[in-house]
Symmetry: C2
DNA sequence: TGAAAATCTATATCATGATATAAATAAAAT
DNA sequence: ATTTTATTTATATCATGATATAGATTTTCA
């Protein structure tokens, strides 16, 4: 990706437009494709740009997929905000889990293709972790509503750990090792397992009642 | 991968030998390559087989990487068994975490390349989840040593959840979002967070003392 | 032991990501 | 208004995963 030369307002605005045009085109192709894939030649044609342009902007096909993944995460946050789930942090995390998994399951093949890019080694780091953490921070809301002996500072691990667990569940789902339903259960149980150590002892029984192991195939 | 026609003992034995030869060759090439990668043409040459043979056995390059990942997990289990870590389930899980991450960090670039295959959508499911669960069951040992109000049956979620969290941490590491050190911290904290809800209340303070959030970049 | 089946090999071919390059175009600077 | 700079475009080319195919080799079976 050419970050080198400086850009001025109109140039930068045109470049951002081109990036959006490319990403929109990619989304259209993915949705239309039975295998949830596209070639870079098809992408350039669909976007109405030259073949080299997506590479100029993103560097690689995988980076395009990563930019699309970022859009997916934004979509999850938007849904959450629109739905305004009620309840305490646990309820909200569970709601975010349902919403997030729901976004993926709207178009499972596309999601697998797009999000499958995230765990792939590449020349430059992806930048999804802060976004994922923010998503789970949004879900958790005010951490002080978790009552426990855990110091407030320690509760800072929760958004990160929820992000890791979510990523792990999704990764196994992408690889075909978890069915759609199993992924729902896996993440819900994972979130509850993490939160189990951070809630009031009086709340534990309710959390445990919602946790279940996955059947072993 | 040609599972179709039936095999008899010598044929099957020869096919297994060919698979091992191919995988050994792949490992040699990965270790020798500055970019931790190999072409299928180089693999066939290194293995001394025809170009189509690895495809006949594994179906795709990614499947070869997945078979190599399986070897990595076996290596982790072997190390654990050799080291015989002492202590309760928590201690053993932490030891397994150090051992497992240590295996990956012996050759970071190779590990990223190999294990990066696991989260990639493909024509057939990978088969790593049972192996991962078994790894964490091995670490946990006898689940009844965890003292808590959680029913024994519910503790069955632990190997799975540890597997998901490990996968999630490794996935972010592969993508370049976690440094080597941060991955160590991330998984240790994740394991402790999961176990925190399953230990005796008297043990909680010691676990929390070992948990720390990752610095936000 | 010869025929049949399974598997491997050598080779050609194709699709696709990626790079390079020269010309064209658009925006910024003088 | 012209020149300079930045970016895009069109095109060629290459590496690489993957597939196809015919011939060669190995193993199994009658």
């Amino acid at each position: 990706m050419t970050d080198g030369p400086s850009s001025s307002p109109l140039r930068e605005r045109n470049r951002q437009t081109a990036r959006d045009v490319v990403l929109d085109a990619a989304e259209r192709l993915l949705q239309a494709s039975p295998s949830a894939d596209f070639s870079m030649r098809a992408l350039a044609t669909e976007a109405g740009v030259g073949f080299a342009t997506p590479f100029n902007h993103f560097g690689s096909k995988n980076a395009i997929m990563q930019a699309l993944s970022s859009r997916v995460i934004k979509r999850m946050a938007t849904r959450f905000r629109e739905q305004r789930p009620q309840g305490d942090a646990v309820d909200r995390v569970l709601a975010m889990g349902r919403i997030s998994v729901g976004v993926l399951l709207e178009k499972p093949d596309v999601s697998k293709s797009v999000v499958g890019s995230l765990g792939v080694a590449g020349p430059s780091p992806s930048a999804v972790l802060p976004q994922s953490e923010a998503l789970w921070s949004l879900a958790l809301g005010d951490l002080s509503t978790l009552s426990s002996d855990a110091p407030i500072a320690l509760r800072a691990v929760l958004p990160q750990q929820l992000a890791f667990t979510f990523r792990g569940c999704v990764s196994f789902w992408i690889a075909g090792e978890l069915t759609d339903e199993a992924m729902v259960t896996a993440f819900q149980t994972g979130a509850l397992a993490i939160l189990l150590g951070f809630v009031n002892p009086t709340r534990r029984a309710a959390l445990m009642a919602q946790m279940s192991p996955l059947p072993i195939p």
